[in-house]
Symmetry: C2
Subunit: 369 residues, 2 copies
């Protein structure tokens, strides 16, 4: 039996276990093997591990202080498979990103400033710099639960996360096909979509093209016969067009993400610019992936995209108000020294910490359950 | 922020956080308030806490060494509400019980024997003594993952759990109504059921009376229109007949449990005596609650019960082979010094340990999510 130091944190609407990179080095085992066994995968319930049996609760954040100039912390995200014995390293999780600044300050990797501390976090999955600001009044990290975000019914400690120059991190271009909109093949319905790469590669497709309004509860959308399969076919064809994989079959589960978008509801209590239901790991997300909200913010600003056509004219340009299943999520868009920075405010909380246990023997034949 | 020492363990097919009783004493807060906040309740996802958003992953085991003669450990079980801000103390969880012996030996509360150690555990919810046997070769607890149980796709460390003299712990009688079978009111279909109290109060109802076979996948049973509501009405009327509550509305969610029983499938690869799908906390259980399997074992041995009529004549009497959604679960029935002992072998595993975190402030208005 081996104990591996770990902290369980909520970041935004996700729960993730946070590890120091060196602590996941176990003799004779790959990091993938270690994570899968700790999380209890493969198993749809993950009953023999620390995974939660859903995509938003089977995530790992792996951190190390950085030697690179202009970077404080190197952050690698792992989506740990649930039914599948596979770890996906191909994308970042913007929600989990929200835990990094706090962890780094607690570890002593970053010295807190007098009132606020900016932690420069490099996500290694996407080569994306994320500058995170947390309150540190009097030079002490303030983790008081004081802020609300949609999808989390308790207050949490705030972190303001800016994705620095996010366009094209995965493909080299904000619009990887060179077009603001693309028409997909008749095999997937000939729909018109926008393919955008910022934060994460995202396919923006119009809800109306799939016979839904786009503001439904996600359980209702899950229940529409064939919808998830049709959207996944769209996503896979789009992934090939974006250059992410050579064939639809080879497109990863995690990216591109797919956003089903619609015009905002004018009767909504909270003013929004765009209604969105986003697919993540094959399921509708309960709120919105942060990385996807960055992509939609830049797509909304670009005339010719399907997103731009849906958002109201004359809205304030510095960000986007997204109508999500959990409520309104607001992004911001700024410029610092001529570099665009797009992001959101999230909250986080430490849930538990200590160590996770790798059993003896760590690798074993699955039981015949 | 306050840290509370805790260990996360799998016990059988459940996951539970294990606490020392004294550690849950927090100034100005009730234990219920502490547990609800730590687990992130109320919230269907428990995203801001250590609960897993399902009944089998929102459980707490609270332990203390015992001063009582013949008892080593006092064990209290708490079912922590998910959507409801309520902790249910009215029943035991047999699966979670499986973690107690290991925890007590690790804490030094029980001195290990030379080859095997028997730990005498008193469940305070049901006043039930459970004798647990774990291997301790050479006086050292052996937690090697070596045994399989249905519903858990990984091997675990074995614990043999015997419920000592389990009849009537909640109501005073094995058959609380004085009958081996009772006919319920026409309002709930006039069905004939057996009401039995052993391990936990259980209603045994025949699947055929509800238009199902009883060997369906639980997802298929969940999808039968009105079935869950009809079974809950049966459960509530039965709870009143068993003296557990004055009215159907006042019957707890946790007890009585309801077992939908059917004759064994003669074509099954593994010989079974009884097919069972059991309701626990309003949902079909992925395997079987251990406490419910104890009740069914004693009911099967009593002529006149609906269970006895379904099990094959001439089966070996010392236990019951249950066909559950996850596979076959075997109970044993023995006598020690004239006292009946009924139980099962389960496996357990330590998943994580350290502490859970109570935020600052611990009590707060729910955010408007």
């Amino acid at each position: 039996m081996r104990e591996i130091a770990a902290t369980w944190m909520r970041g935004g609407t996700s729960k993730c276990w946070v590890f120091r990179r060196d602590d996941l080095q176990v003799p004779d085992l790959s990091v993938d093997e270690v994570l899968l066994r700790i999380y209890g995968s493969p198993d749809h319930r993950q009953v023999d591990g620390v995974g939660g049996g859903t995509s938003t609760t089977s995530k790992a954040v792996i951190l190390a202080p950085s030697e690179t100039s202009g970077v404080d912390v190197e952050y690698t995200f792992a989506q740990v498979g649930i039914e599948e014995a596979k770890v996906d390293w191909g994308s970042n999780c913007g929600n989990c990103s929200a835990v990094v600044a706090s962890f780094a300050i607690r570890e002593g990797w970053v010295r807190p400033g007098a009132s606020e501390t900016a932690v420069r976090v490099l996500n290694t999955n996407t080569d994306q710099l994320i500058v995170q600001r947390v309150p540190t009044p009097g030079g002490v990290l303030d983790e008081e639960a004081s802020e609300a975000i949609p999808g989390v019914p308790f207050l949490g400690a705030p972190v303001r996360m800016g994705f620095v120059d996010p366009a094209g991190r995965s493909t080299g271009h904000l619009f990887p096909t060179g077009h603001q909109r693309d028409t997909l093949s008749e095999a997937v319905g000939g729909v018109v979509v926008t393919l955008v790469d910022a934060g994460a590669p995202v396919v923006a497709a119009q809800a109306a093209d799939f016979g839904v309004r786009g503001d439904e509860d996600i359980a209702d959308l899950d229940a529409v016969p064939g919808l998830l399969a049709r959207l996944d076919a769209v996503r896979r064809e789009a992934g090939v067009l974006m250059g992410l994989a050579p064939t639809p079959e080879a497109v990863a589960r995690a990216v591109p993400k797919l956003a089903l978008v619609a015009a905002p509801d004018p009767a909504s209590a909270e003013r929004t610019d765009l209604t969105v239901r986003m697919l993540s790991m094959g399921r509708f997300h309960p709120a919105v992936p942060v990385t996807g909200s960055v992509a939609l913010t830049l797509a909304a600003d670009a005339p010719g995209t399907v997103v731009h056509d849906l958002v109201p004219e004359g809205r304030p340009a510095a960000g986007l108000q997204l109508g999500t299943p959990a409520g309104r999520v607001s992004t911001f868009a700024e410029e610092h020294d001529g570099v665009p920075v797009v992001g959101v405010v999230r909250t986080y909380r430490r849930l538990a910490h200590g160590s996770v246990v790798l059993p003896d023997p760590p690798l074993q034949p699955s039981a015949s359950a």
